[in-house]
Symmetry: C2
Subunit: 338 residues, 2 copies
């Protein structure tokens, strides 16, 4: 089969790889209907995150079950399924509390930028659609696998809801889908922070009520201006840099909530400032599995259309072009056809 | 009148000072029934927090109203009142959300280690008892002013409650009263981390079910041992050092809550570890005023006895001895009689 492998910063190759096989009796093998490039794939692509050898890439997936192991009971061959970037048993105490990405049996999922992939803990990890979906729904189900689920978690962690003003730091796919989530959760006002016209437009499509183009201290000042000097009730952080984390914390009112999902590379939070900020801070690797059943319903019923974040579609063999387009911010998110 | 002033690290003097007067029409003047030394007073006493001149000390107070300004409507002369270390209007949007220590009109309160003090925003800041209390209740009302209110906020921020295992990092007065708060909030299991016999005993009196004497990584390992490898649901941090904050975060299970109230001097939280910890982090200067009406009731009805944290009582003129006893950890908390 064909699959994308990162050899070194900037060097992604699609090459012939062995097809995955059932390893544990709880595994499933999936034939991918679509896959994509994640903002977090750019960390190793840019050399910020080190790799210790060629790395099969991709952790976002939706597709049709080809085969299941002997211990898989609820997931069946032929079903269309969506999963998440960590496999989880969905029965341990941590999973039952809604933190499947910290499942005591969690396993990372990789190699999704390919024609086939292996998913561990298939019963705990995968959620099936009622029937095989129409083709035009596939990008939205793929989005549910990571960026929608992550934006949704950020909005929930930020306590977005009725009566709330929500600010969103980061205009990548996760931030934009954080806007969509905040709207679905009933937020009154949603301020998207973006200086890119195409992303602003999508933010407004997804339900943003205000656009702020400033960032850093000026961005914070604009959020304060828009909120009677107090700051937003809820702030979604979807970047993961020192600047964006501090922008998120400083944009939040005392007693408000920051939901952070940008992977916080090289971030150090100053204790005294955090202490006096009085914010609630929660985030981490989004437990997408918690939200998947609801998200699958919302997509199946065409209530939401998160697939709009894919503004470039390429054949899998052109994955390298997809990485480049995202790295250069020419594309918001790139879908790959296996 | 007599009042305590810090001149330099280790140099507290009780001297003759001017009696405070009404400055703003929203002020009240209080004759202190009792005052005390706070763990946070030890930061400047030890020279860790710099002072830029002689500083009148003390911010914990309970006493009888002597005089009120022309705009004070609910607080009356002759009432016994309890307040907190920040004066708040209790009507702004931040106060109404329960964050009175970030009130848009907040003012620091100081000079409480004295015979009289001025309290700004008297109507918003002070809570009166139904009648003048019996003498033996005064220490408990004084505790409500800061250490009880702070321990209570930490327990609420840590989501202590029925079915929860709560760990408490720090065996000072705040940590011990965090134990009491967790018990009142219905926690199932309360693990106090302490290696001092007298503090362990008080923790057990206040409702702790387990004592852990280890600290740092060993303390974390013990908490994990006691919680099926997962960590506590709720952790109260009541110290404020890098080590204690990391101990608190690492003792908390994924999805659990850290309530931190130790003033985080020189603390830097590593972003990546926080991200993957999956904890909720909330804390800061405790909005004691949020809890005061309930705390005053619980004390008035003799449901709780937080005054037990005072294990040394001295005349105000011996304040320097009180600071020394707390600095050397010979006393948990020192009450001063004005």
């Amino acid at each position: 089969m064909r699959g994308a492998v990162l050899y070194a910063p900037g060097d992604v190759r699609v090459e012939q790889r062995d097809e995955p096989r059932i390893v544990a009796p709880t595994d499933a093998i999936i034939r991918l209907s679509a896959t994509c490039v994640c903002g977090s794939d750019l960390w190793p692509y840019r050399g910020i995150e080190k790799i210790d050898g060629p790395r099969p890439m991709g952790h976002e997936y939706a597709g049709v079950v080809e085969e299941v192991g002997g211990a898989v009971t609820t997931i069946k061959p032929g079903q269309f399924v969506v999963g998440s970037f960590f496999a989880s048993d969905n029965v341990c105490e941590i999973c039952r509390a809604g933190y499947q990405t910290s499942c005591v049996h969690r396993e990372g999922v990789s190699g999704a930028q390919a024609q086939y992939m292996r998913v561990p803990h298939a019963d705990g990890t995968l959620v099936a659609t009622p029937e095989l979906p129409a083709d035009d729904l596939v990008p939205s189900f793929l989005a549910a696998s990571d960026v929608l689920g992550t934006g949704w978690f950020a909005a929930v962690a930020a306590h977005a809801g009725p009566g709330k003003t929500v600010a969103v730091v980061g205009d990548g796919a996760v931030g934009l889908l954080g806007v969509l989530a905040a709207r679905q959760l009933g937020a009154e006002r949603i301020i998207a922070m973006s200086r890119h016209e195409s992303r602003q437009k999508l933010a407004l499509d997804f339900g943003a009520t205000d656009i702020v183009t400033e960032r850093g201290d000026e961005g914070v000042a604009r959020i304060k201006d828009l909120t009677g000097g107090l700051g937003a009730h809820s702030v979604i952080e979807a970047v993961g840099t020192q600047e964006s984390m501090m922008q998120a914390i400083r944009s939040t009112r005392a007693g408000g909530h920051v939901g952070y999902v940008g992977v916080t590379h090289d971030v150090q939070l100053p204790g005294m400032e955090l202490f006096f900020s009085h914010v609630h801070l929660h985030g981490g690797p989004a437990p997408v599995r918690r939200f998947l059943p609801d998200l699958v319903d919302l997509i199946w019923n065409r209530t939401i259309d998160p697939g709009k974040v894919f503004d470039l579609s390429l054949p899998l063999d052109q994955a390298a072009d997809g990485y480049r387009a995202m790295d250069e911010r020419r594309a918001i998110k790139v879908l790959l056809h296996p």
